[in-house]
């Protein structure tokens, strides 16, 4: 059993006021909380290298002081600042502003970090205003992967309420040349040649809040998840609608099924069951909290369509928190651990694939992101 081979898990939590590292052994019952790291700064995301779990990258940002990047080489115990210069390639051009006018591309912050599957010194960064950057020297220097913004639809992209952010980066473990990204509010894109060229993959999405609901770009994709054993299957939580594709994004179909509301931000896939997926339904785009004050994770064991509420251990009254797009993760132990953080500062954990939940911590600053490392 994989669970007996694992020595533990480490959860990397980014919050509005610092980072926290939560650790436990393989039972995942007793947790040690360390932090805050970078106290007072917004930590949009932290993520460890799959090939060297002690190598962790963090995005540290501030309205006062801009963007800083941090790197740890000892599993988050100590950190060092690395390069923070994100200069767009060439003349940045314009995208749409909220009012539909052309607005110049301006770097604001790093939303998401995605370390390489093979090299601990290579890491991708998804930024606002939306673009993809890459470092091959451990975060010291960053260069834009320019083909994404330059493929032609960039002037039509527009910001969502949180800004025009590139928030999802998925590396295909079976094909080093293939990568998926998602942008609010432009949609999903795929490259099959290592980032040189990109294509929008939004066919099948329907967004009634844009002038052409089936437009090639303009969709507010909130999150995409993939199981590494099935890299052609993706699951998407869109602004509204939960979607799936089985042909690498060429065609999406809705799988919201019996969800009580299909608005939400997070989506993730069970570590050992590629057709078991998780979402946290949120009431609506104008009321970012759970329905009826009940915090419920919904699980589908059929890849969508049929969903069951998971409530044991979660507050079922007077709960009005949100769960942001990067704030859910799974570990690879057996049984699969599922984790998510809330804007109320709770980090909930399930060590039995969602059947039961416990709050590891209840009073952190608002949680922006949650990542999990399964440690041997």
């Amino acid at each position: 059993m994989m669970g007996f081979l694992m020595s533990g898990v480490r959860i990397l939590v980014g919050t509005r006021k610092g980072a926290f590292v939560l650790t436990a052994d393989g039972k995942r019952e007793r947790w040690d909380v360390s932090g805050p790291f970078f106290a007072g700064w917004q930590i949009y995301h932290l993520k460890g290298s799959p090939v060297d779990p002690n190598r962790i990258y963090a995005s540290q940002t501030s309205d006062w002081f801009g963007q800083t990047m941090q790197r740890s080489s000892d599993g988050g115990k100590t950190w060092e600042p690395v390069g923070n210069k994100f200069a767009y390639d060439g003349v940045p051009g314009t995208h749409q502003w909220y009012d539909g006018t052309a607005h110049p591309w301006e770097f604001k912050r790093v939303w998401h970090l995605e370390p390489s599957l093979t090299d601990p010194d290579t890491v991708y960064a998804g930024i606002e205003d939306a673009a993809l950057f890459k470092s091959t020297d451990g975060g010291q220097n960053w260069n834009e992967v320019p083909g994404l913004r330059q493929h032609g639809s960039g002037p039509k992209w527009q910001p969502g309420a949180g800004g025009m952010c590139l928030h999802t980066i998925i590396l295909d473990p079976a094909n080093a040349k293939r990568m998926y990204i998602a942008i609010s509010a432009a949609g999903a894109f795929r490259t099959d040649d290592g980032g040189t060229t990109w294509k929008p993959i939004n066919k099948g999405l329907f967004s009634k809040y844009i002038p052409d609901p089936t437009a090639e770009v303009g969709h507010c994709v909130h999150r995409i998840a993939m199981h590494p054993s099935r890299p052609n299957t993706l699951f998407m939580q869109k602004h509204w609608d939960v979607m799936r594709t089985d042909d690498s994004g060429d065609q999406w179909t809705e799988v919201s099924g019996n969800l009580p509301t299909d608005f939400g931000f997070v989506i993730d896939v069970h570590a050992h069951e590629p057709e078991t997926i998780y979402v946290v339904p949120i009431k609506s785009d104008s009321e970012h909290f759970p329905l009826d004050g009940k915090l419920q994770v919904f699980r589908s064991k059929t890849g969508g369509h049929e969903w069951e509420p998971l409530t044991k251990g979660l507050p079922q009254k007077d709960c009005y928190v949100n769960v942001l797009r990067d704030a859910m993760a799974v570990d690879s132990l057996d049984k699969c651990g599922v984790y998510f953080g809330t804007t109320g500062g709770q980090v909930y954990a399930s060590n039995d694939a969602g059947d039961t939940w416990n709050a590891i911590v209840r009073d952190l600053p608002a949680v922006v992101s949650v990542e999990v490392q399964s440690l041997k």
Partner: protein, 101 residues
């Protein structure tokens, strides 16, 4: 040597210690605001981009520069710093706006 008062978050980022809020900076050439910030960034490379925006080279909107009980944020970058700052009698203060939650 010019005395510079850094805000807490930048002192932490630059790892200058908690015993003082001042650092001393040696500026070569004409002691202008631009030369001072250049010298701060040269001594503390991790502060690049945190005082001035990389893309525009302009002071970040939520930061102000004070000296000799004056707000000198809007002085031209190449104007000379006040004489008491250059002599070390008065510090150059980099101040974060009182904003946010």
């Amino acid at each position: 040597m010019i005395r510079v008062v850094l805000p807490q978050h930048l002192r932490t980022l630059a790892n200058v210690g908690s015993g003082t809020d001042e650092v001393t900076i040696d500026v070569s050439g004409p002691p202008t605001q631009r030369a001072l910030i250049d010298a701060i960034e040269a001594r503390y490379p991790m502060l690049r981009g945190t005082i001035r925006d990389y893309a525009t080279d302009r002071r970040r909107a939520f930061l102000r520069f004070f000296a000799c009980e004056e707000d000198i944020s809007h002085e031209l970058p190449d104007s000379l710093l006040p004489a008491p700052v250059v002599s070390g009698a008065e510090p150059f203060l980099i101040v974060g706006a009182l904003a946010g939650g």
